[in-house]
Amino acid sequence: MQVRRLPTGGRIDRSQSLAFRFNGKEYQGFSGDTLASALLANNVRLTARSFKYHRPRGIVGSGPEEPATLVELEGRRASANQAATTVRLEEGMAARSVNCWPSPGLDMGAVNQLFAGLIPAGFYYKTFKWPGWHLYEPAIRKAAGLAGAPVAPPLDGHFEAVHAHADVLIVGAGPAGLMAALVAGRTGCRVFLADERTEAGGSLLDRRLEIAGKPALEWVAESVAELKSMPNVTHLLQDASVWAYREHNLLMVNERSPANSNVLERNWRIRAGQVILATGAIERGLVFPDNDRPGVMLASAAQAYVNRFAVKPGERAVVFANNDSAYAVAADLHASGIDIAAIVDSRDAVPEDARDLAGEIPIKSGSVVIGIRGKRAVKGATVAERDGRGAEKVDCDLLLHSGGWNPTAHLFSQSRGSLRYDDTLATFVPDKAAQACVSVGGAVGEFSPASALRTGAEAAASATGSEMPDLPAVTEGHYSIAPLWRVDARGAKGKAFLDIQNDVTVDDVHLALREGYDNVEHVKRYTTGGMGFDQGKTGNINIIGTIALQKGVPIQDVGTTTFRPPYTPVSFGAIGGIREESVVLPYRHTPITRWNLDRGAFMYEAGARWRRPGYFPRDDETFQEAVNRECRAVREDVGVYDGSPLGKFELKGGDVGRFLDHIYTNLMSTLKPGQCRYGLMLTEDGLILDDGVAMRLGKHRWMVSTSTAHADTVHGHMEELLQTQFPEWNVYVTPVTSQWNNATVCGPKAREVMAALGSDIDLSHKGLPFMSFADGQVAGLPARVVRVSFTGELSFEINVAPRHMRDLWERTMEAGEPFGIEPVGSEASHVLRVEKGFLSLGHEVDGTVDAHDLGMSWIMSKKKRDFVGKRSVELRRRGNEIRRELVGLLPANPNEQIPEGAPLTPGGERRPTEGLVTACVWSVVLDRWVALALLENGKSRHGETVHVRLKNATIAADVMEPVFHDPDGLRMRS
């Protein structure tokens, strides 16, 4: 039974009744309701508990400023951090209060109220220090937060994030925003309008005004119809909050009710030429004892409930104000049948305009509310003169208060625009813009509908270079205010809240100031006032005013804190959009990926987002058994791996030779066409950037290969050098990583497999020697065969275009079958390169070593005058400091594995490390564990025994050359 629903009026659809549950109880509302208006219609007054003290709380606001009634939505739309005033009511909706257990009526956490005096602001900073913060942290973390995050993805639907562009982005569809959109739209420029309410009109929805001689909402409807008829007005979004203003006019919009019913929420990323902020203003509360009791409500909110939702928030109200706007509220409520017991105005003189609006309603000027009767619901108020004299009790079930209006400057502030204090309005207003944006209407302190229309039109005309239009006639309202930062009357007792959402009181701010936190930013952090998703919507200015009063300084000298995004809560899902599940991270496939998966390969990312096979387990094989089998195939017979992910770049131009000489440590320009050479690239600081192979394709054409993971880095490195240091050099770089896939056939029987595949290339030792390549046909496919080896065995890298890769692979497997060919994964490749002592970036190349440390002094050319990193290496080595050098390790117990990354310490004692183990694998050629390590002065310590220090053990290992197989490289050159 909607006992508080007015029989007529409102913007609700009474033909569509909606059933919903709140805290487990069934209720009815109407289409067009918010959860808050529906609860009020059902006379649900106690809707929440407070964050810290667990005080009873009710509904305070009517929009995103709501600081008290935060709910957790359950079921299909499960989410947390929702203000009940912004939740559009839906059939079957279920919600529950936060900060209470088991219910707001019976909340076990209310025991905190007994100890309220012991838990002021910052108490836990001081209290939970002994024996250590971490003892208390879990319990505090559990108590914190405003609701639990959903534990499962939505049952149906998905989120979406989308980009958009506009010449003019207008934020807010109130009178200023609509007027701006009309003016901008009529010029033909692209207009994007986003408004946080479910329908256009802004504050006009909540009030009873006329524009152009007719009800204001008719003007709104006509304006919206005109905008919809303009194809250049690309978006008219309702229920869409602009929640972030980023650099270069990039703004974020959270659309909560997209037309596509499969989309739960949509996040727009809009890049706009000009932004018009028509975000309106937020009414702030007054600060008096027990100003948080259920039934204490912002005056403008009550006006919205009566006019927009046809709900009476109470039967008998006291209106407490320091400005004129509350008088229109009182008049509207009175007209709706609510008994207004009195208007309590802290000002001595009430303007005549305001008195006229009040009509017969008693006005108590120069008075304040010094107390509230009733804990779970307002039962009455105590009213007195400003100094506390003449206190009297007034019965009421609704206390409406208005402390004035604050421009909603959150987005303007996020854009890094500055604010200034306006004495007349007693608030901060936008001052200097930092980006192409302008605030209009209430957002700039122009609170009357007439000035909202005017400033909206002016901003749009200025942005589009068009003429000012004739404006519709509207009565100019009067607004005046005398700031009242807090009620400080004799007899005023009880907690007076500045920030209701974070339970911050006047006493908390005073305490912060006494303890030396006298900067407004420090007060914010000490008290948490204005934090969280409230972001100071209702309390910010009152905190600043309280600081100013207490310090005895002008309010402008206190300044404001920084408004931060999001302006209103946004689902993480909406930010992420469709990037979830299989696409939560990028991934890359080769044409063989499907083949690998079909054969049960264990796949994982192996650098630069490539998914590669780690190993190919068979039947009940263990990981180690599978890897051993693949390694043995390469060492004894033949294997094949997919080397497609290696980075590849074609370089062209007359200066490529000298460019390669500059970026590699060794000489490349001397290569003849058809030859290739292994090389190292260093960074400017002389550390190893990458290794790879350079091939000379022709007089001016080269190809370089890079490691998989560093392909993009090397590309950037080359382009940076060419564009900044050598712009006059004739070198063009073209990435061809995906133009060339390769199947690398490796092992003693590799040549037999190549013969079985068939090729017009002479693949003999003489015809295609080690470190050479040739173009031709392999298995009937156009191919380039390269004689390089990353396994230490005879290898033929068969490069083909990706369109041929699957064919090549299958033909290779078929041709290799008689020779026992095995597909080889990354794990086996790792073992094979460790056995050979080949370096691996991320293992031996750990960001500290240079080529000399790795025993590769031979690759540091002495003939070249300069190359990238040369000077740094030489300078570093002049210091004769101890270096960690690459060594091989044989664990004393051949069956004992050493964890990769394990430290080496002298004698295995608890002493500073002298190195670390970079890799440890089971060697199939030695039939034992072998390791590589970086060890201080390692090259001169071969034959020594060193110790790996583990948490509860040490492992002894003998130091040796970092090569365990075919040290002369005869096999790979065969």
Partner: protein
């Protein structure tokens, strides 16, 4: 209700990466092989089934159906070209998707930050940008757009598009 859009993965095109001065390229290739250089940046010109896309300073892509790859390769002679120009066959480097339907622009906007409104991205526009976080080449086609991503990201892009269409 889902979107009115569909996508298809297209077969590879013949594609050659051309770099160098216009005059040097014309001198080497011959004007008759080229549809003419676009007058403006990030525009394409088409003639005789061949399109020439401006994608950067002194940088173009020459594209045609794959069955003309050998013909173009023979005419362009990448391996013999003078030092002043770079011609590289890159036909396989990109996976191309055609996205069509009344909601095609919205589909693009889910993955692409570029302004694709016809006022900013007309019929002959072509540009490298991002698509689902990866480098991509976008152009208009009849009824929608074509997006080319690095070939190894093809499966991922298909995955993304399938999700976006829901």
């Amino acid at each position: 209700m889902s979107y009115d859009a569909a996508f298809a993965r297209l077969p590879v095109n013949a594609c050659f990466d051309l770099k160098g001065a216009e005059s040097a390229l014309v001198e080497w290739i011959g004007a008759e092989m080229l549809p003419g250089f676009p007058a403006d940046a990030n525009r394409c010109r088409k003639a005789n089934g061949v399109s020439l896309d401006h994608v950067g300073p002194r940088h173009w892509l020459l594209q045609a159906d794959i069955d003309r790859e050998d013909e173009l390769n023979g005419a362009l002679r990448p391996h013999e070209a003078p030092a002043e120009v770079s011609i590289v066959r890159i036909s396989d480097t990109m996976a191309t998707f055609r996205i069509t339907g009344t909601d095609a622009a919205h589909m693009l906007a889910i993955g692409c930050p570029l302004d694709l409104h016809e006022a900013a991205f007309p019929e002959d526009a072509v540009s490298f940008t991002e698509f689902f976080g990866q480098k991509a080449l976008v152009r208009r086609c009849v009824g929608g757009f074509e997006v080319s991503v690095e070939q190894s990201f093809g499966d991922m892009t298909e995955d993304y598009l399938t999700r976006a269409l829901r």
